[in-house]
């Protein structure tokens, strides 16, 4: 799925290029969100069974 999202990000960038590059903040926010998304995607690819937030919380609450 990370490749699908990667392609979608590129398509989205090409389609909305004018809006994204129009203002610096638009570009930075797009870059920031894409970076977080890609990082989360890589983590999911490398460790698909990484303990979820709910299971970690469960350990501490119980």
């Amino acid at each position: 799925m990370i490749f699908v999202f990667g392609v979608l990000l590129v398509i989205s960038f090409m389609r909305e290029k004018d809006k994204i590059l129009n203002k610096k903040v638009n570009f930075l926010v797009f870059l920031f969100l894409s970076f977080i998304g890609i990082m989360l995607g890589i983590i999911h690819q490398i460790y698909p069974y990484v303990p979820s937030m709910a299971s970690v919380l469960e350990k501490y609450i119980k």
Partner: protein
Amino acid sequence: MKWGSYMNKPLSIRQAVLMYLFISISPVLRQIPSALAKEAGRSGYISPIWATFPVLILTAIIILLINSYPGLNLYEITVQLTGKVFAKFIMIFYLIWAILYLTGILNAYALSLQFTLMPKTGSDFFIQVMIILAIYALYKTAKTIFRFSEFALGPVFAFIGILFICALNRLRTDYLIPVSAINLPNTLKASINVTAVGGNIFLILFFADRFGLSVTKKHLRKFWTGALIFILLNLVITIFTYGITGAPLTANLPFPFYITVKSITFFNIFERFEVLVTLVCILSDYVSVCIMFIIVLHIIRWLFGIEEKEFLIIPVAMVVYYLTFLVSRTQFEYDFFYKHVIVNLNLIFLYILPLFICFLCLLKRKYIRKQY
């Protein structure tokens, strides 16, 4: 009138209230009966009555805010009341909550599909389909989603009504009464589950700028109607589930209403209505996902002062998709997460913060100049 120009018209309060009812359907069918049965046992169906008070108070808060600041949305109202810096600070917390809530909805949707119709299909497939459909809807206007809930709510209520009529002869009164006074404190405690879902009415304030300036008392009355219909729906569904399945079994099932509907037939001719229940939940989840997605995009726009939202859709969808797996995976994890995190966060963000905003509004009310 052309369809395109119709979709660009401002949003009506009626559509917003119908959206609230539509997104409430899936938690009302899926989570509330079992949560009430777990915490209050056989008396759990009384809890929606207690929840009437906080939901109506929240409705009064929303009406007060819309009356005091017509044509402004939640962020703009918060800016007026607290200043830009503090408003952005509040919005960061709302953003975190909205993303967590959104991932919770996605998990609940995938798990209920696995439980009901397709147990062998992986939850990631369901989430992918939902994300793709949500992305498609988000590229259209938000009005499309509101219109969808407006059209779909009537048939859904009619379906629930027919089910209720078919189920009347199967209701067992010994499952419902007698209710012991000893259980009343438990019903009060359990009512937070209903309250947490009922708080969704506050989401309307995120779209309040689209109502325009000409909001009359007649329009605002629809909020009260919406809140009361929500409570009534809760009562009907809980009585329905308890009366047929019984409280002990309801407490131990992930989707008790589905099992309840399995035992219903229409004059011993038609059966298998449970598939339609799953469909209703999917539709409700779809609208919830789209609305929460729009709220997340709105908050990001407000935080960074961005005018367009289209280029944010794919990156946000990517973050939400992967976060869904990081938040919870299994039914047990999701139940834990819903009970301990989502319900409490909903109470904070849909009741306590609005109460704080309302308090500020009341303090500043006499200083608000008649600028509208």
